[in-house]
Amino acid sequence: MNDEPRMYSWKNRWLRGSLLFVGGTTVVSLLVGFVWLPSMQGDFTAQGIWSSICRAAGVPAPWGAGGDATRATTRTTEVVMTRSMARAGGTEAVGLGATIALQCTVCHGVRGLTDSNAPNLAGQYPEVMIKQLTDYQSGDRINSVMQAFARSLTPQAIREVAAYYAYLPRVTNPTSDPGSDVPRLVQVGDAMRNIAPCASCHGGLDHKLGAPWLEAMPKAYLSEQLDAFAKGARHNDSHRQMRNMARQLSAAEVDELATYYARR
């Protein structure tokens, strides 16, 4: 049987055949995929053959009118949510935070609760406070009053304020209500419009890092924020998750959701 040529020599027909076949298939499909198919598309071939090949290979390049393909047009947020942010500081941080928070009491109440239409902060998740205050500092969330207050805070002061408000007792929705009056959007969302249930991030079903505690928030504040997300005036939701949800809501639904979460 030693009439069979050595395995790794060009005379071996298995080696020769398989290399030629696999190599040929590769070359032909490369030519079709990178040269012929792109040549059928005007926007691939606009800047010559090399540019067309690069585009077929997926190299980032300006398309159409041009511009930096890697730069997003709208700023969202520079804060990266980490689990360490969700761990509130100890008693010392709470005490220091309480002192700093004296300047917040005019709008947010002495114990983080107020009948004004500023949001209630008592019991808010610390990572939410950190993210929003940092976004005010960087201008990713816009509010003339809050941006002015936030500007002077150091990162450590922000963590302490967050620790203080997280420490205050939270106000919850009345639980004696039968579950049946929970709006469908809160409980199951609306898959056909790609609206996730509110409760899958804001508590109830699950809580996602960075999603605020909403129960007992002022109704006016909630509907104003949903409107701002829908119009794009507020855009510090890192994955556009709130803008995409809010844009789909009717005025009646915004009212229903705001009313539901504002119950106390």
Binding site: M1, W14, L37, R55, V59, R83, V188, D190, K208, H239
Partner: protein
């Protein structure tokens, strides 16, 4: 002779118990998202369940079956004691520890990221570490298979490697190379984030690396079934294998073409260039070739069996096939499901047609038909075939076995047919609930109810499978020696190329580099491609 008996039995029992548990979850998932449930359940529980179902069915169950079957093949076909039995036990225990380590965070809701991981979702590090342990355990098997083949070749210079062992080692090498994608994804990209060292993750690169594993793993699942087609089916139905060489060609073609095709899962992903998507579509088309070769060869082998039983005429021999033989039923069911699933697969792999069904229930229907249908039904037969050897018990009741196979086949068709249909209607996959009262979804309500009934039938079949194996009668006698199929022309010598793997492994690596090299290098080099990670179950 069969010294690895307890080792193989341990693999099979753990695989079977895990399979049965995941079947219960699967049936519950069918119910939870159907109109029969109110659709107001906790979606998180659904994703928890899907994660457990996928992790067991995609990693634990097929890996343990392939490993156990591989050890059995090594002893039974090479007729030599398994080299490295202690290492094999170590690999087994690694896989067990890994399975438990991954299951706990899933059960606690800390890892509801589905078995495909889906960064930027990030679950508990213990989930990923558990999967790494399972994979490392399987790498022990890969090395042992290579060592056993080498030991046999050393003792039998110039002889032809038995076809079963040839396919087995091809499967091991395929797994070794394909598992690297997900392993790199976990170790380099996911774990640093899950452990808290990093807060952002390159989701696009993660998906490309996972696609490296995601499609070739299907061919790895397939290998035990194909080995059974070639080396057990012809013997079990009383025929001869039509061509031993064709089996070798099919196995090496899987080795070469399984890998450079995974990006056809990412046709809708923006981070890959259209040229590479086309390349992967072409090579996905190539991987149908070994399947066509296999179907041809096995049908020819069945024809031999039928003609030996007096079958006549161009198609008249079909009547004389041993239809009362469970293996005959299984291979028929398997081919029917492979044909239907494969036809759907041609749509999935076509760059343009894919758009119509991408990310719909069609895809779920497709891979259940191929894996849970065509492949798992052969896993059942592997267990039934090996059971008398493993447990020293009497042959199993063919009546019950046939009932179980029928239930599985019918259940699978009832499950997957409606899934394909609602997929065409546009029903997305990975959804915990649907509002079937919505006029746009109303037409999907009844097919989903029907497919839920299919899920119930499948669960019954799975429980019957466990019952048949658990209730096998003990006999004192040693079982008849296990034999593999005999080919019409048993090869005295095969070409060197088909007696080893060197050139095929080289081609596998080369094609992977051509098809994956640039997309991966580019995504690694590009700045600013990472996004914030989203911890699952953070509270």
């Amino acid at each position: 002779m069969f010294r690895a008996r307890r080792l193989v039995l341990a693999h099979f029992w753990v695989a079977i118990v895990a399979f049965a548990a995941a079947m219960v979850l699967g049936a519950w998932q069918m119910y939870a998202r159907s109109p029969l449930a109110a659709g107001t359940g906790d979606p998180e529980l659904y994703y928890r369940s899907v994660t457990a179902h996928g992790t067991v069915m995609a990693y634990v169950f097929p890996l343990l079956v392939a490993m156990g079957f591989g050890y059995a093949i090594s002893e039974l076909s090479l007729k030599q004691p398994l080299v490295g039995r202690r290492w094999a036990w170590a690999g087994f225990w690694l896989a067990i520890v890994g399975t438990v380590m991954a299951s706990v965070p899933i059960a606690l809701g800390r890892a509801s990221v589905l078995y495909t991981f889906y960064p930027p979702l990030i679950g508990s590090p213990f989930y990923y570490l558990g999967i790494v342990l399972v994979v490392v355990g399987s790498w022990v098997w890969v090395v042992l298979m290579a060592i056993n083949l080498r030991a046999w070749k050393r003792d039998h210079p110039g002889e032809t490697v038995p076809l079963a062992m040839f396919g087995n080692v091809a499967a091991a090498f395929l797994w070794a190379w394909t598992s690297i994608g997900a392993a790199v994804e976990i170790l380099v990209l996911i774990l640093p984030v899950a452990l808290g060292f990093k807060d952002t993750i390159d989701a696009g690169l993660s998906r490309v690396l996972f696609s490296w594993t995601l499609h070739a793993i299907v061919y790895f699942w397939l290998m035990p079934a194909y080995i059974a087609f070639y080396t057990i089916v012809p013997r079990a139905v009383g025929g001869r294998l039509y061509s031993d060489t064709m089996g070798r060609v099919a196995f090496v073609l899987f080795l070469v073409f399984s890998m450079p095709i995974g990006i056809h899962h990412l046709f809708a992903d923006p981070q890959i260039g259209s040229g590479f998507k086309f390349m992967h579509a072409v090579f996905t088309a190539m991987v149908t070739v070994p399947t066509f070769l296999t179907v041809f060869t096995i049908v020819a082998s069945l024809e031999i069996a039928a003609r030996l039983r007096g079958g006549k005429g161009l198609f008249g021999w079909v009547r004389t096939l041993p239809w009362d033989n469970p293996m005959m039923l299984a291979v028929t069911f398997s081919f029917v499901m492979l044909g239907l699933g494969g036809a759907g697969g041609l749509i999935n792999m076509s760059y343009q047609l894919n758009e119509t069904i991408h990310n719909t229930q069609w895809v779920t229907g497709h891979f259940h038909l191929i894996f849970a249908g065509a492949i798992v039904i052969m896993y059942f037969m592997l267990a039934y075939e090996l059971w008398p050897q493993l447990t020293l018990r009497a042959p199993l009741s063919t009546g019950l076995v046939k009932t179980q196979l029928w239930l599985w086949f019918v259940g699978m068709l009832i499950l997957t047919g409606p899934w394909h249909w609602v997929g065409i209607l546009g029903m997305p996959r990975r959804m915990a609930s649907f509002d079937y009262t919505d006029p746009t979804l109303h037409a999907m309500a009844w097919p989903v109810v029907v497919s839920t009934l299919g899920g119930v039938v499948l669960l019954l079949s799975a429980l019957l499978f466990v019952f048949i194996l658990a209730s096998a009668r003990r006999t004192g006698d040693a079982p008849a020696p296990f034999t593999f199929s005999i080919a019409v022309h048993m090869p005295r010598r095969v070409p060197t190329a088909l007696n080893g793997f060197g050139i095929w492994v080289a081609l596998m690596v080369a094609l992977t580099v051509v098809n994956y090299g640039f997309p991966i290098a580019q995504l690694v080099a590009l700045k600013g491609t990472s996004v914030p990670a989203i911890p699952v179950g953070a509270q």
